[in-house]
Symmetry: C2
Subunit: 337 residues, 2 copies
DNA sequence: TTGTACGCGTTATCAA
DNA sequence: TTGATAACGCGTACAA
C-alpha cells in the first residue's frame, strides 16, 4: 500500500530521463542499452502506468458507462453479457449504473458524463423527458440509447417495436381460439409501458377483440407486481382464457397466481410474456414469450458506440430489431424439450 | 461534442484567476462579488469539473472494481444488487469485470488495479493460485475477497461455509428417509467445487452413507452442465432417490432431466440446490436450496471495502456468513405458497 | 538517440 | 480575499 513508482522513479534508478522511460515503455525507438536499463528498473520496481495521468493527457478514459433501471432484470442482463466482452475486447472498462428507474438518477448519469469519466454511454431509459433531451444536446461524449429516442435527438438509437410484439402475442392467442384475453401492463407512463398499451389497443381492435380498460391491469415490471395485477384482474374477470403480459417477470407472477388458484396453464388460461429471457424456459410450463432481441440490441448498441469512439462522425443512426414470437408450453400445451 | 470549458475558461470569462474559480467551486471563503461572477460564468458555460484531472490531483478515482466469473450467475447478481447502491451512496462508481472464470483474466484484473483506475476491488475468485497471492501482496489498493482467501493474505475476506452447506442438504435428505443420494458437483479444482466435495465426503461418512465416486458426477456450474451430469449419473445409478447439487443452476438442469425421464420430484427423486437464488422459487417444483447468503456477503464486502477506503487501517478482517437450508417443494413435496 | 520543458485540468500553497 | 505558481504522472514537441 506504499506509493507506487512513477516514470520519474524509474528514470532515477535507470539513470536516464523520464522522456526515455516513456519512450521505452511506449515502444518508440531507443538505444538497446537504454531500453535494457529502463525495463530492468521498471521490472524491479513493479511499475504499472497510472491510467489517470494517462487519461488526463490523452483525453480518453477508456471507460464506457452502461445505465439501466435495474440490474436484476434479466433482459438488461442479456444486454450486459453481450456488451461487456465487446467493450473489453476494444480496451474499454464498463462502468455500471443502476438507476432504479428514477428519472433524477438517469439525469444525474447523463450529467456525470460531462465529468469525462467515460468516453461514451449506453443507456436504457424508462422514460424520455425534456431534461433527457437537453442533456443529450449538452453531452460531450457519444450516447447510444436502447429504446425509443425522439427523432432528431443527437444520439444513436437501438430500438425494437414492442407494439408489434404485443400484436404477435395477441394474434397467436387469437389463432388458438382465445377470446377473453387480459393484459397485464407495466407503468403506462414509461416508454415501454406506453408502447405496449398502444400495441394492445391497436391489435385488439384489428382482431375484433374488446380492448377496454376492464381487461387491463397495470403494475410495475416485477414479478410481485405481476402477481398482484393478475390477482386483481382475475377477481374482476374470472372467465379469462388468456393473459398477455408486458414482460416475463410479470408473466411469472401471473403464473404463480394461476397455479395458486388452480387454473391450469395453458388449458384454462394461456399466458405470454415478453423479452424472452432465460426465465422463460425456467418457468413451468415454459413461457411463450415475445423476444425483443435483448442480446442483439446489446450487441448493436456496443457496436454503434465503438464506431463512434473509433471516430465515426456520421449523423445519428438507428438500428431496429424485429420482435419475434417464441412459442412454448404456456400457450401451446406441449411438453418443453 | 466540442471541447468543454475548464476553470481556465471560466477564469477568463469572469475576469479572475483560476485559483479563485477553484475556491468558489469548492465552497472556500470568497468575496460575494467574485463568487457571483464565477458562478455566473460557470453556469453560462455549462461547466462540469473534469473528474480525471481531479483524480490525478487527489489520487483517488472514486471508483471500485467488482470482478466475478459470470454476470449471468444469479448468485453474483444478488451481490451486485447490494453492492452497487452502497458504493453509489458513498460516492463511488462501480466498474464491472466479468472474467469468464479465466485465471489469466482474474490476474489481469488484479494487475489492472495497479493502474489506479479504482480505489479498491471486490473479487469473487473461482480459484486461488500463487499468482493471486503475489498480486494481493503487490496491490496498492484494498482488496476484498468473497470466498476463501488463504490465511495471512493481505485482503479482507467474506466467506461462507459451503461444506456445512452440503452437510445441511444431505442431513435434510437423510432425515426424509433418502438413502441413495447422488451428488452433482462443479469443477473440483475450483474453490467452491473443492469445498463442496469435501463437505460431501465428510457428511456422507458421518451419516453412514456411501460416499464413493460412483455417486458423484462433475460438470461446470451451469444449467446445461447440470443436465448432462444428471443424465450420466442417472444412467449409472438408476435407483437414485435424491440429488444434492452444487448450485441452483446445476439443480435446474437436473430438474429438466428428471422431468424428461418421467421421474417425479420429490416423490421419486428429491433435489436440493445451493445459493438460494431467485431461480429457486421460479423452478417447478420450487427448489429446496442452501442459502449461502449471497446478498449478505455482498453487503459485507461493500462494508469492509468502504471501511478501508475511509481510512481504516486494521489488519485483514474476516466476515463469515452461515449457510441456511431453505426447504421448498423439491424435497418437501408440498405446494409452494 | 536523448534530455528539457510544457501541457492536460485540478487542488493547494504561499505571498501579496 | 486574491493571484501566481507548483504539483499530480504522463506524453511529446523541440532542441541538443
Amino acid at each position: 500500500m506504499t506509493e507506487g513508482p512513477t516514470i520519474t522513479t524509474i528514470a532515477q534508478r535507470a539513470g536516464v530521463s523520464i522522456a526515455s522511460v516513456s519512450r521505452v515503455l511506449n515502444g518508440l525507438p531507443t538505444r538497446p542499452e537504454t531500453e535494457r536499463r529502463v525495463l530492468q528498473a521498471a521490472g524491479e520496481l513493479g511499475y504499472v502506468p497510472n491510467s489517470v495521468a494517462r487519461s488526463l493527457k490523452s483525453r480518453r478514459s477508456n471507460q464506457v458507462g452502461f445505465a439501466i433501471a435495474d440490474i436484476g432484470n434479466p433482459a438488461y442482463l442479456a444486454m450486459i453479457r453481450e456488451i461487456q466482452p465487446l467493450l473489453k475486447a476494444a480496451g474499454y472498462r464498463l462502468v455500471l449504473h443502476s438507476t432504479g428507474s428514477d428519472i433524477a438518477e438517469e439525469i444525474e448519469v447523463l450529467r456525470g458524463l460531462g465529468e469525462r469519466y467515460a468516453d461514451g454511454l449506453i443507456m436504457v431509459p424508462l422514460r424520455m423527458t425534456e431534461e433527457h433531451l437537453k442533456m443529450f444536446h449538452a453531452a460531450r461524449a457519444p450516447i447510444v440509447i436502447i429504446g425509443a429516442a425522439p427523432d432528431g435527438a443527437p444520439v444513436d438509437n437501438v430500438r425494437t417495436d414492442s407494439r408489434t410484439g404485443v400484436r404477435l402475442a395477441l394474434a397467436h392467442l387469437h389463432a388458438l381460439g382465445r377470446r377473453r384475453i387480459g393484459f397485464l401492463n407495466g407503468p403506462p407512463d414509461t416508454v415501454p409501458g406506453a408502447a405496449r398499451a398502444a400495441g394492445w389497443a391497436e391489435a385488439s381492435r384489428a382482431l375484433g377483440l374488446p380492448a377496454g380498460p376492464e381487461l387491463t391491469e397495470v403494475g410495475d415490471f416485477y414479478r410481485a407486481d405481476g402477481a398482484a395485477a393478475a390477482g386483481r384482474l382475475l377477481d374482476r374477470v374470472p372467465d379469462l382464457d388468456a393473459l398477455v403480459c408486458a414482460n416475463d417477470l410479470i408473466a411469472l407472477g401471473a403464473l404463480d397466481v394461476l397455479r395458486r388458484r388452480g387454473r391450469r396453464v395453458p388449458d384454462d388460461v394461456a399466458v405470454t410474456g415478453m423479452d424472452d429471457t432465460d426465465l422463460a424456459t425456467l418457468a413451468w410450463p415454459a413461457l411463450t414469450s415475445v423476444s425483443l432481441g435483448s442480446a442483439e440490441r446489446g450487441r448493436a448498441a456496443a457496436g454503434l458506440l465503438l464506431d463512434r469512439l473509433a471516430g465515426d462522425g456520421q449523423g445519428p443512426r438507428v438500428v431496429t430489431v424485429e420482435p419475434r414470437l417464441v412459442v412454448r408450453g404456456s400457450t401451446a400445451g406441449q411438453e418443453t424439450p
